[in-house]
Protein backbone atom coordinates (compact mmCIF):
# COMPACT_ATOMS: atom_id res chain seq x y z
CA UNK A 1 0.00 0.00 0.00
CA UNK A 2 1.54 3.28 -1.02
CA UNK A 3 1.18 6.58 0.74
CA UNK A 4 -1.50 7.92 -1.63
CA UNK A 5 -3.77 5.00 -0.80
CA UNK A 6 -3.01 5.42 2.86
CA UNK A 7 -3.97 9.09 2.71
CA UNK A 8 -7.18 8.21 0.93
CA UNK A 9 -8.16 5.67 3.55
CA UNK A 10 -7.36 8.12 6.31
CA UNK A 11 -9.46 10.71 4.51
CA UNK A 12 -12.43 8.36 4.32
CA UNK A 13 -12.00 7.27 7.92
CA UNK A 14 -12.02 10.82 9.14
CA UNK A 15 -15.11 11.58 7.10
CA UNK A 16 -17.01 8.67 8.68
CA UNK A 17 -15.81 9.68 12.14
CA UNK A 18 -16.91 13.27 11.50
CA UNK A 19 -20.36 12.18 10.36
CA UNK A 20 -20.64 10.03 13.48
CA UNK A 21 -19.73 12.94 15.75
CA UNK A 22 -22.20 15.22 14.01
CA UNK A 23 -25.00 12.69 14.30
CA UNK A 24 -24.22 11.80 17.94
CA UNK A 25 -25.97 14.81 19.45
CA UNK A 26 -28.73 14.85 16.87
CA UNK A 27 -29.62 11.18 17.35
CA UNK A 28 -29.74 11.55 21.12
CA UNK A 29 -32.01 14.57 20.76
CA UNK A 30 -34.22 12.70 18.31
CA UNK A 31 -34.50 9.72 20.68
CA UNK A 32 -35.32 12.04 23.55
CA UNK A 33 -37.95 13.94 21.60
CA UNK A 34 -39.44 10.69 20.33
CA UNK A 35 -39.65 9.35 23.87
CA UNK A 36 -41.27 12.56 25.14
CA UNK A 37 -43.72 12.59 22.25
CA UNK A 38 -44.82 9.02 22.97
CA UNK A 39 -45.31 9.85 26.63
CA UNK A 40 -46.95 13.21 26.29
CA UNK A 41 -48.53 13.94 22.93
CA UNK A 42 -51.82 12.26 23.82
CA UNK A 43 -52.09 14.44 26.91
CA UNK A 44 -51.99 17.73 25.02
CA UNK A 45 -55.34 19.29 24.34
CA UNK A 46 -56.90 22.68 24.86
CA UNK A 47 -57.94 21.81 28.43
CA UNK A 48 -54.35 20.94 29.32
CA UNK A 49 -53.30 24.41 28.30
CA UNK A 50 -56.17 26.28 29.96
CA UNK A 51 -56.57 24.24 33.17
CA UNK A 52 -55.25 25.41 36.51
CA UNK A 53 -52.93 23.07 38.43
CA UNK A 54 -54.64 20.39 40.50
CA UNK A 55 -53.83 17.52 42.84
CA UNK A 56 -55.30 15.14 40.33
CA UNK A 57 -53.03 14.57 37.36
CA UNK A 58 -55.79 14.25 34.78
CA UNK A 59 -57.36 17.55 35.86
CA UNK A 60 -54.08 19.43 36.00
CA UNK A 61 -53.12 21.98 33.37
CA UNK A 62 -50.24 24.30 32.65
CA UNK A 63 -52.21 27.54 32.44
CA UNK A 64 -50.58 29.30 35.43
CA UNK A 65 -47.07 28.14 34.51
CA UNK A 66 -47.51 29.08 30.86
CA UNK A 67 -48.82 32.52 31.74
CA UNK A 68 -45.98 32.88 34.24
CA UNK A 69 -43.44 32.03 31.53
CA UNK A 70 -45.02 34.52 29.13
CA UNK A 71 -45.00 37.26 31.79
CA UNK A 72 -41.37 36.51 32.60
CA UNK A 73 -40.48 36.50 28.91
CA UNK A 74 -42.13 39.85 28.19
CA UNK A 75 -40.77 41.63 31.25
CA UNK A 76 -37.28 40.23 30.70
CA UNK A 77 -37.37 41.48 27.10
CA UNK A 78 -38.48 44.94 28.20
CA UNK A 79 -35.66 45.14 30.75
CA UNK A 80 -32.78 43.33 29.07
CA UNK A 81 -33.21 44.49 25.47
CA UNK A 82 -32.65 48.25 25.88
CA UNK A 83 -30.02 47.85 28.59
CA UNK A 84 -28.04 45.17 26.73
CA UNK A 85 -28.13 46.91 23.36
CA UNK A 86 -27.19 50.27 24.86
CA UNK A 87 -24.26 48.68 26.69
CA UNK A 88 -23.14 46.93 23.51
CA UNK A 89 -23.32 50.15 21.50
CA UNK A 90 -21.37 52.01 24.15
CA UNK A 91 -18.60 49.43 24.33
CA UNK A 92 -18.26 49.15 20.57
CA UNK A 93 -18.70 52.78 19.47
CA UNK A 94 -17.89 55.05 22.40
CA UNK A 95 -15.62 53.11 24.75
CA UNK A 96 -11.98 54.01 24.26
CA UNK A 97 -9.59 51.16 23.65
CA UNK A 98 -7.64 51.19 26.89
CA UNK A 99 -6.95 48.94 29.84
CA UNK A 100 -10.28 49.76 31.47
CA UNK A 101 -12.23 48.65 28.42
CA UNK A 102 -10.13 45.49 28.15
CA UNK A 103 -11.00 44.60 31.74
CA UNK A 104 -14.67 45.37 31.09
CA UNK A 105 -14.60 43.13 28.05
CA UNK A 106 -13.06 40.17 29.84
CA UNK A 107 -15.52 40.52 32.69
CA UNK A 108 -18.52 40.56 30.40
CA UNK A 109 -17.32 37.32 28.83
CA UNK A 110 -16.86 35.96 32.35
CA UNK A 111 -20.37 37.01 33.31
CA UNK A 112 -21.72 34.94 30.44
CA UNK A 113 -20.07 31.91 32.03
CA UNK A 114 -21.29 32.42 35.61
CA UNK A 115 -23.56 29.53 36.71
CA UNK A 116 -27.20 30.58 36.68
CA UNK A 117 -27.76 29.63 40.31
CA UNK A 118 -25.36 32.40 41.30
CA UNK A 119 -27.55 34.89 39.48
CA UNK A 120 -30.47 33.43 41.45
CA UNK A 121 -28.68 34.17 44.72
CA UNK A 122 -27.85 37.67 43.53
CA UNK A 123 -31.49 38.22 42.59
CA UNK A 124 -32.66 36.90 45.93
CA UNK A 125 -30.43 39.29 47.83
CA UNK A 126 -30.78 42.41 45.72
CA UNK A 127 -34.24 42.30 44.18
CA UNK A 128 -36.24 40.16 46.61
CA UNK A 129 -34.75 41.35 49.89
CA UNK A 130 -33.02 44.71 49.52
CA UNK A 131 -35.41 46.19 46.97
CA UNK A 132 -38.29 44.39 48.68
CA UNK A 133 -39.89 43.08 45.51
CA UNK A 134 -40.68 39.70 47.07
CA UNK A 135 -41.00 36.52 45.06
CA UNK A 136 -42.64 38.44 42.22
CA UNK A 137 -42.62 38.25 38.44
CA UNK A 138 -40.61 41.47 38.45
CA UNK A 139 -37.90 40.05 40.73
CA UNK A 140 -37.70 36.96 38.52
CA UNK A 141 -37.49 39.02 35.34
CA UNK A 142 -34.78 41.28 36.73
CA UNK A 143 -32.78 38.22 37.74
CA UNK A 144 -33.12 36.62 34.31
CA UNK A 145 -32.29 39.96 32.68
CA UNK A 146 -28.97 39.98 34.51
CA UNK A 147 -28.41 36.42 33.36
CA UNK A 148 -28.90 37.15 29.68
CA UNK A 149 -27.41 40.66 29.58
CA UNK A 150 -23.90 39.42 28.75
CA UNK A 151 -25.27 37.35 25.86
CA UNK A 152 -27.15 40.34 24.45
CA UNK A 153 -24.14 42.63 24.89
CA UNK A 154 -21.80 40.23 23.12
CA UNK A 155 -24.30 39.64 20.30
CA UNK A 156 -24.84 43.39 19.88
CA UNK A 157 -21.12 44.04 19.69
CA UNK A 158 -20.58 41.30 17.13
CA UNK A 159 -23.43 42.62 15.00
CA UNK A 160 -22.12 46.19 15.19
CA UNK A 161 -18.59 45.07 14.37
CA UNK A 162 -19.82 43.47 11.16
CA UNK A 163 -21.18 46.78 9.84
CA UNK A 164 -18.66 47.84 7.18
CA UNK A 165 -16.50 50.80 8.16
CA UNK A 166 -17.15 52.32 4.75
CA UNK A 167 -20.81 52.90 5.69
CA UNK A 168 -19.85 54.74 8.85
CA UNK A 169 -17.25 56.77 6.92
CA UNK A 170 -19.87 57.77 4.37
CA UNK A 171 -22.22 58.90 7.10
CA UNK A 172 -19.59 60.93 8.94
CA UNK A 173 -18.41 62.48 5.69
CA UNK A 174 -21.92 63.81 5.09
CA UNK A 175 -21.81 65.69 8.38
CA UNK A 176 -23.56 63.14 10.59
CA UNK A 177 -22.80 63.18 14.29
CA UNK A 178 -21.81 60.01 16.05
CA UNK A 179 -25.30 59.43 17.38
CA UNK A 180 -26.90 60.14 13.99
CA UNK A 181 -24.55 57.61 12.41
CA UNK A 182 -25.32 54.99 15.04
CA UNK A 183 -29.07 55.55 14.92
CA UNK A 184 -29.47 55.87 11.14
CA UNK A 185 -26.80 53.51 9.82
CA UNK A 186 -25.17 51.26 12.38
CA UNK A 187 -28.26 50.06 14.25
CA UNK A 188 -30.41 49.39 11.15
CA UNK A 189 -27.55 47.55 9.48
CA UNK A 190 -26.93 45.42 12.57
CA UNK A 191 -30.54 44.99 13.68
CA UNK A 192 -30.78 41.46 12.30
CA UNK A 193 -27.77 40.31 14.27
CA UNK A 194 -28.92 42.06 17.42
CA UNK A 195 -32.41 40.57 17.17
CA UNK A 196 -30.96 37.12 16.61
CA UNK A 197 -28.86 37.45 19.74
CA UNK A 198 -31.73 38.80 21.81
CA UNK A 199 -34.09 36.03 20.75
CA UNK A 200 -31.53 33.31 21.43
CA UNK A 201 -30.85 34.84 24.84
CA UNK A 202 -34.57 34.95 25.60
CA UNK A 203 -35.04 31.37 24.55
CA UNK A 204 -32.39 30.51 27.08
CA UNK A 205 -34.18 32.58 29.72
CA UNK A 206 -37.48 30.83 29.13
CA UNK A 207 -35.88 27.49 29.94
CA UNK A 208 -34.08 28.63 33.10
CA UNK A 209 -35.15 26.97 36.35
CA UNK A 210 -32.50 27.26 39.03
CA UNK A 211 -32.32 31.05 39.47
CA UNK A 212 -36.09 31.33 39.59
CA UNK A 213 -36.35 28.65 42.26
CA UNK A 214 -33.85 30.58 44.35
CA UNK A 215 -35.71 33.85 43.81
CA UNK A 216 -38.80 32.09 45.10
CA UNK A 217 -40.91 31.07 42.12
CA UNK A 218 -43.49 28.60 43.35
CA UNK A 219 -44.19 25.11 42.19
CA UNK A 220 -47.85 25.66 42.83
CA UNK A 221 -49.71 28.93 42.26
CA UNK A 222 -53.48 28.89 42.14
CA UNK A 223 -53.81 31.79 39.69
CA UNK A 224 -51.96 33.21 36.74
CA UNK A 225 -50.07 36.45 37.54
CA UNK A 226 -51.97 39.63 36.74
CA UNK A 227 -49.31 42.23 37.52
CA UNK A 228 -45.50 42.33 37.77
CA UNK A 229 -45.78 42.15 41.55
CA UNK A 230 -47.70 38.85 41.64
CA UNK A 231 -46.14 35.55 42.57
CA UNK A 232 -45.64 33.12 39.75
CA UNK A 233 -44.50 29.78 38.44
CA UNK A 234 -42.92 28.95 35.11
CA UNK A 235 -43.02 25.95 32.80
CA UNK A 236 -39.65 24.42 33.73
CA UNK A 237 -40.54 24.55 37.44
CA UNK A 238 -43.93 23.01 36.73
CA UNK A 239 -42.19 20.24 34.80
CA UNK A 240 -39.70 19.70 37.61
CA UNK A 241 -42.53 19.53 40.13
CA UNK A 242 -44.52 16.98 38.12
CA UNK A 243 -41.52 14.76 37.45
CA UNK A 244 -40.86 14.47 41.18
CA UNK A 245 -44.33 13.02 41.76
CA UNK A 246 -44.73 9.23 41.93
CA UNK A 247 -48.05 8.93 40.06
CA UNK A 248 -47.81 7.95 36.42
CA UNK A 249 -50.34 10.61 35.40
CA UNK A 250 -47.99 13.38 36.39
CA UNK A 251 -45.18 11.88 34.32
CA UNK A 252 -47.49 12.15 31.34
CA UNK A 253 -48.24 15.76 32.28
CA UNK A 254 -44.53 16.53 32.52
CA UNK A 255 -43.89 15.07 29.08
CA UNK A 256 -46.72 17.13 27.62
CA UNK A 257 -45.41 20.31 29.27
CA UNK A 258 -41.93 19.55 27.93
CA UNK A 259 -43.37 19.36 24.43
CA UNK A 260 -44.95 22.79 24.87
CA UNK A 261 -41.71 24.26 26.27
CA UNK A 262 -39.65 22.76 23.45
CA UNK A 263 -42.13 24.11 20.95
CA UNK A 264 -41.72 27.61 22.36
CA UNK A 265 -37.92 27.49 22.21
CA UNK A 266 -37.91 25.96 18.71
CA UNK A 267 -40.22 28.66 17.44
CA UNK A 268 -38.02 31.36 18.99
CA UNK A 269 -34.88 29.87 17.51
CA UNK A 270 -36.65 29.61 14.15
CA UNK A 271 -37.46 33.30 14.27
CA UNK A 272 -33.82 34.02 15.15
CA UNK A 273 -32.58 32.01 12.16
CA UNK A 274 -35.06 33.81 9.91
CA UNK A 275 -33.76 37.22 11.00
CA UNK A 276 -30.16 36.15 10.61
CA UNK A 277 -30.66 34.98 7.04
CA UNK A 278 -32.59 38.08 6.09
CA UNK A 279 -29.93 40.28 7.62
CA UNK A 280 -27.04 38.53 5.88
CA UNK A 281 -28.75 38.92 2.52
CA UNK A 282 -29.30 42.62 3.10
CA UNK A 283 -25.66 43.41 3.88
CA UNK A 284 -24.33 41.69 0.77
Amino acid sequence: MNSIQKNRIFDQAFKVWGIGCTLFGLILLAVFIGDILIDGIMRIDWDFITDLPSRKAEKSGIYTALMGSIWILLLTTVIAFPVGVAAGVYLEEYGKKNRFSAILEINISNLAGVPSIIYGLLGLEVFVRIMGLGASVLAGSLTLSLLILPIIIVATREAIKSVPKSIKDASYALGASKWQTIWNQVLPASSGGILTGVILALSRAVGETAPLIVVGALAYVPFAPESPMDEFSVLPIQIFNWISRPQHGFIENAAAAIIILLLITFIMNGIAVYFRNKWQKKLK
Partner: protein
Protein backbone atom coordinates in the same frame (compact mmCIF):
# COMPACT_ATOMS: atom_id res chain seq x y z
CA UNK B 1 -11.71 51.87 -27.63
CA UNK B 2 -10.71 55.50 -27.36
CA UNK B 3 -13.37 56.46 -29.85
CA UNK B 4 -15.98 54.52 -27.90
CA UNK B 5 -15.17 56.42 -24.75
CA UNK B 6 -15.35 59.69 -26.61
CA UNK B 7 -18.82 58.86 -27.83
CA UNK B 8 -19.95 57.91 -24.36
CA UNK B 9 -18.52 61.09 -22.95
CA UNK B 10 -20.51 63.08 -25.44
CA UNK B 11 -23.77 61.43 -24.42
CA UNK B 12 -22.96 61.95 -20.76
CA UNK B 13 -22.37 65.63 -21.37
CA UNK B 14 -25.76 65.94 -22.97
CA UNK B 15 -27.47 64.37 -20.01
CA UNK B 16 -26.17 66.92 -17.53
CA UNK B 17 -28.57 69.86 -17.41
CA UNK B 18 -27.00 73.27 -17.82
CA UNK B 19 -28.55 74.87 -14.78
CA UNK B 20 -29.98 73.30 -11.67
CA UNK B 21 -31.49 74.42 -8.39
CA UNK B 22 -28.24 74.20 -6.47
CA UNK B 23 -26.42 76.20 -9.12
CA UNK B 24 -27.72 79.60 -8.07
CA UNK B 25 -27.32 79.00 -4.35
CA UNK B 26 -23.63 78.30 -4.64
CA UNK B 27 -21.42 81.25 -5.33
CA UNK B 28 -18.86 80.62 -2.62
CA UNK B 29 -15.21 80.60 -3.52
CA UNK B 30 -13.64 77.83 -1.54
CA UNK B 31 -9.98 77.85 -0.69
CA UNK B 32 -7.72 75.59 1.32
CA UNK B 33 -4.47 76.84 2.84
CA UNK B 34 -2.09 74.38 4.42
CA UNK B 35 0.74 75.61 6.64
CA UNK B 36 3.57 73.37 7.81
CA UNK B 37 1.40 70.31 8.44
CA UNK B 38 2.94 67.24 10.03
CA UNK B 39 1.17 63.99 10.84
CA UNK B 40 2.13 61.03 12.97
CA UNK B 41 0.52 57.67 13.45
CA UNK B 42 1.94 56.65 16.78
CA UNK B 43 5.66 57.02 16.01
CA UNK B 44 5.38 56.86 12.23
CA UNK B 45 5.82 60.27 10.64
CA UNK B 46 3.33 60.04 7.76
CA UNK B 47 3.49 63.68 6.67
CA UNK B 48 6.64 65.69 7.18
CA UNK B 49 5.74 69.33 6.88
CA UNK B 50 3.68 70.41 3.90
CA UNK B 51 2.62 73.86 2.74
CA UNK B 52 0.07 74.19 0.00
CA UNK B 53 -2.64 76.49 -1.30
CA UNK B 54 -5.56 75.09 -3.22
CA UNK B 55 -7.35 77.50 -5.52
CA UNK B 56 -11.12 77.76 -5.84
CA UNK B 57 -12.99 76.12 -8.70
CA UNK B 58 -10.06 74.03 -9.79
CA UNK B 59 -9.36 70.34 -9.84
CA UNK B 60 -6.21 69.50 -7.93
CA UNK B 61 -4.80 66.00 -8.29
CA UNK B 62 -2.63 64.31 -5.68
CA UNK B 63 -0.32 61.71 -7.17
CA UNK B 64 2.45 59.57 -5.75
CA UNK B 65 3.29 55.96 -4.96
CA UNK B 66 1.31 53.97 -2.37
CA UNK B 67 2.11 54.97 1.20
CA UNK B 68 3.35 58.43 0.25
CA UNK B 69 0.77 60.10 2.47
CA UNK B 70 -1.51 61.57 -0.18
CA UNK B 71 -4.67 59.92 1.15
CA UNK B 72 -3.77 60.85 4.71
CA UNK B 73 -3.23 64.41 3.56
CA UNK B 74 -6.59 64.51 1.75
CA UNK B 75 -8.39 63.20 4.81
CA UNK B 76 -6.99 66.03 6.89
CA UNK B 77 -9.24 68.49 5.05
CA UNK B 78 -12.47 67.05 6.44
CA UNK B 79 -10.91 65.66 9.60
CA UNK B 80 -11.61 62.03 8.73
CA UNK B 81 -8.33 61.06 10.39
CA UNK B 82 -9.85 61.99 13.74
CA UNK B 83 -11.16 58.44 14.04
CA UNK B 84 -7.78 56.83 13.45
CA UNK B 85 -6.14 55.62 16.62
CA UNK B 86 -2.85 57.24 17.56
CA UNK B 87 -3.34 60.01 15.01
CA UNK B 88 -1.49 63.23 15.85
CA UNK B 89 -1.13 66.40 13.84
CA UNK B 90 0.73 69.69 13.88
CA UNK B 91 0.32 72.78 11.74
CA UNK B 92 -2.61 74.72 10.37
CA UNK B 93 -5.19 74.02 7.73
CA UNK B 94 -7.43 76.94 6.83
CA UNK B 95 -10.59 76.37 4.87
CA UNK B 96 -12.12 79.61 3.60
CA UNK B 97 -9.80 81.46 5.95
CA UNK B 98 -10.47 79.71 9.27
CA UNK B 99 -8.36 77.06 10.90
CA UNK B 100 -10.31 73.78 10.95
CA UNK B 101 -8.14 72.26 13.67
CA UNK B 102 -9.06 74.82 16.29
CA UNK B 103 -10.66 73.38 19.40
CA UNK B 104 -14.06 75.00 18.89
CA UNK B 105 -14.56 73.81 15.31
CA UNK B 106 -17.81 71.94 14.72
CA UNK B 107 -16.65 68.94 12.73
CA UNK B 108 -20.16 68.11 11.50
CA UNK B 109 -20.55 71.60 10.04
CA UNK B 110 -17.11 71.36 8.46
CA UNK B 111 -18.06 68.12 6.70
CA UNK B 112 -21.17 69.72 5.27
CA UNK B 113 -18.86 72.27 3.69
CA UNK B 114 -16.35 69.66 2.48
CA UNK B 115 -17.85 66.54 0.93
CA UNK B 116 -15.99 63.31 0.34
CA UNK B 117 -16.17 60.51 -2.20
CA UNK B 118 -14.41 57.29 -1.31
CA UNK B 119 -12.32 54.75 -3.18
CA UNK B 120 -14.87 51.95 -3.07
CA UNK B 121 -18.44 52.99 -3.84
CA UNK B 122 -20.11 52.87 -0.42
CA UNK B 123 -23.84 53.47 -0.77
CA UNK B 124 -25.94 52.91 2.32
CA UNK B 125 -27.95 49.66 2.29
CA UNK B 126 -31.06 51.74 1.69
CA UNK B 127 -33.07 52.89 -1.29
CA UNK B 128 -31.55 55.08 -4.00
CA UNK B 129 -33.76 57.97 -2.89
CA UNK B 130 -32.87 57.60 0.79
CA UNK B 131 -29.17 57.55 -0.03
CA UNK B 132 -29.33 61.02 -1.53
CA UNK B 133 -31.87 62.31 0.99
CA UNK B 134 -29.79 61.16 3.97
CA UNK B 135 -27.61 64.25 4.19
CA UNK B 136 -30.66 66.50 3.96
CA UNK B 137 -32.45 64.63 6.72
CA UNK B 138 -29.34 64.92 8.89
CA UNK B 139 -29.71 68.68 8.65
CA UNK B 140 -33.25 68.43 9.92
CA UNK B 141 -34.92 69.21 6.60
CA UNK B 142 -38.39 67.68 6.74
CA UNK B 143 -40.12 69.41 3.81
CA UNK B 144 -40.82 66.37 1.65
CA UNK B 145 -41.27 68.34 -1.52
CA UNK B 146 -37.99 70.19 -1.07
CA UNK B 147 -36.15 66.95 -0.33
CA UNK B 148 -37.62 65.36 -3.43
CA UNK B 149 -36.65 68.32 -5.61
CA UNK B 150 -33.08 68.31 -4.29
CA UNK B 151 -32.72 64.55 -4.68
CA UNK B 152 -33.90 64.69 -8.28
CA UNK B 153 -31.64 67.66 -8.95
CA UNK B 154 -28.58 65.90 -7.55
CA UNK B 155 -29.31 62.72 -9.46
CA UNK B 156 -29.57 64.81 -12.63
CA UNK B 157 -26.29 66.57 -11.87
CA UNK B 158 -24.46 63.24 -11.80
CA UNK B 159 -26.31 62.03 -14.92
CA UNK B 160 -27.89 59.16 -13.04
CA UNK B 161 -31.47 60.38 -13.17
CA UNK B 162 -32.39 58.80 -16.52
CA UNK B 163 -31.02 55.47 -15.38
CA UNK B 164 -32.78 55.28 -12.01
CA UNK B 165 -35.85 57.52 -12.20
CA UNK B 166 -38.22 54.53 -12.18
CA UNK B 167 -36.33 52.68 -9.43
CA UNK B 168 -35.88 55.31 -6.73
CA UNK B 169 -37.37 52.99 -4.13
CA UNK B 170 -35.02 50.12 -5.05
CA UNK B 171 -31.98 49.29 -2.98
CA UNK B 172 -28.84 51.16 -3.97
CA UNK B 173 -26.93 47.90 -3.54
CA UNK B 174 -28.53 46.62 -6.75
CA UNK B 175 -26.84 49.32 -8.88
CA UNK B 176 -23.64 48.67 -10.82
CA UNK B 177 -20.33 49.87 -9.36
CA UNK B 178 -20.19 52.91 -11.64
CA UNK B 179 -23.78 53.85 -10.87
CA UNK B 180 -23.10 53.41 -7.15
CA UNK B 181 -20.15 55.77 -7.33
CA UNK B 182 -22.17 58.41 -9.14
CA UNK B 183 -24.88 57.94 -6.51
CA UNK B 184 -22.27 58.56 -3.84
CA UNK B 185 -21.28 61.77 -5.61
CA UNK B 186 -24.95 62.80 -5.82
CA UNK B 187 -25.30 62.09 -2.12
CA UNK B 188 -22.34 64.37 -1.46
CA UNK B 189 -23.73 67.16 -3.66
CA UNK B 190 -27.05 67.09 -1.80
CA UNK B 191 -25.39 68.52 1.30
CA UNK B 192 -24.27 71.50 -0.82
CA UNK B 193 -20.56 71.53 -0.05
CA UNK B 194 -18.15 73.99 -1.62
CA UNK B 195 -15.24 71.55 -1.69
CA UNK B 196 -15.34 67.90 -2.75
CA UNK B 197 -12.56 65.50 -1.81
CA UNK B 198 -12.20 62.36 -3.88
CA UNK B 199 -10.03 59.48 -2.74
CA UNK B 200 -9.27 57.42 -5.86
CA UNK B 201 -12.92 57.55 -6.90
CA UNK B 202 -12.48 55.50 -10.06
CA UNK B 203 -9.99 52.86 -8.97
CA UNK B 204 -12.77 50.28 -8.49
CA UNK B 205 -14.56 51.13 -11.75
CA UNK B 206 -14.38 49.87 -15.33
CA UNK B 207 -13.11 52.22 -18.09
CA UNK B 208 -16.57 53.31 -19.24
CA UNK B 209 -17.77 54.14 -15.72
CA UNK B 210 -14.45 55.89 -15.14
CA UNK B 211 -15.01 58.03 -18.20
CA UNK B 212 -18.44 59.03 -16.91
CA UNK B 213 -17.08 60.00 -13.51
CA UNK B 214 -14.23 61.97 -15.08
CA UNK B 215 -16.63 63.86 -17.28
CA UNK B 216 -18.68 64.58 -14.20
CA UNK B 217 -15.67 65.94 -12.33
CA UNK B 218 -14.96 68.22 -15.24
CA UNK B 219 -18.50 69.61 -15.01
CA UNK B 220 -18.49 69.92 -11.22
CA UNK B 221 -15.39 72.09 -11.33
CA UNK B 222 -17.55 75.06 -12.34
CA UNK B 223 -19.25 75.06 -8.96
CA UNK B 224 -16.96 73.20 -6.60
CA UNK B 225 -13.33 73.06 -5.64
CA UNK B 226 -12.21 69.49 -6.19
CA UNK B 227 -9.25 67.65 -4.74
CA UNK B 228 -8.69 64.16 -6.09
CA UNK B 229 -6.23 61.45 -5.16
CA UNK B 230 -5.41 59.20 -8.07
CA UNK B 231 -3.03 56.45 -8.99
CA UNK B 232 -3.72 56.95 -12.63
CA UNK B 233 -1.31 59.41 -14.32
CA UNK B 234 -3.48 59.76 -17.41
CA UNK B 235 -6.42 60.59 -15.23
CA UNK B 236 -4.47 63.27 -13.40
CA UNK B 237 -3.35 64.83 -16.66
CA UNK B 238 -6.83 64.62 -18.20
CA UNK B 239 -8.94 66.14 -15.47
CA UNK B 240 -6.81 68.29 -13.20
CA UNK B 241 -5.67 71.90 -13.37
CA UNK B 242 -3.01 71.48 -10.70
CA UNK B 243 -1.06 68.42 -9.72
CA UNK B 244 0.81 67.71 -6.51
CA UNK B 245 3.40 64.94 -6.37
CA UNK B 246 3.95 63.36 -2.96
CA UNK B 247 6.78 61.10 -1.96
CA UNK B 248 7.50 59.63 1.49
CA UNK B 249 5.33 62.13 3.32
CA UNK B 250 6.67 65.16 1.52
CA UNK B 251 5.28 67.38 -1.17
CA UNK B 252 7.92 67.09 -3.86
CA UNK B 253 6.37 69.28 -6.48
CA UNK B 254 3.13 71.22 -6.87
CA UNK B 255 2.36 73.10 -10.03
CA UNK B 256 0.06 73.45 -12.99
CA UNK B 257 -0.72 70.01 -14.34
CA UNK B 258 0.64 70.93 -17.73
CA UNK B 259 3.97 71.92 -16.24
CA UNK B 260 4.21 68.84 -14.06
CA UNK B 261 3.62 66.52 -16.96
CA UNK B 262 5.63 68.31 -19.61
CA UNK B 263 8.39 70.12 -17.80
CA UNK B 264 8.75 69.05 -14.15
CA UNK B 265 11.32 70.87 -12.04
CA UNK B 266 12.44 67.88 -10.00
CA UNK B 267 14.06 64.74 -11.28
CA UNK B 268 11.99 62.64 -8.85
CA UNK B 269 8.75 63.90 -10.36
CA UNK B 270 9.91 63.12 -13.84
CA UNK B 271 10.98 59.64 -12.83
CA UNK B 272 7.58 58.97 -11.32
CA UNK B 273 5.39 60.28 -14.11
CA UNK B 274 7.42 58.54 -16.74
CA UNK B 275 6.97 55.28 -14.83
CA UNK B 276 10.60 54.75 -13.86
CA UNK B 277 9.58 54.06 -10.27
CA UNK B 278 6.49 53.72 -8.07
Amino acid sequence: MAKEIEIIMETVTEQIPANSIIDSSLKKKATIEVKDVKVWYDTFNAIKGIDMNIKPNTVTAFIGPSGCGKSTFLRLFNRMNDYVEDFRMEGKIKVNGSNIYKKKVNVEELRKEIGMVFQKPNPFPKSIFDNVAYGLKLQGITDKQLIEELVIDCLKQVALWDEVKDDLKKSAMALSGGQQQRLCIARTLAVQPSIILMDEPTSALDPISTAKVEELIFKLKEKYTIVIVTHNMQQASRISDYTAFFYLGELVEYNKTKTIFTNPEKQQTENYITGRFG
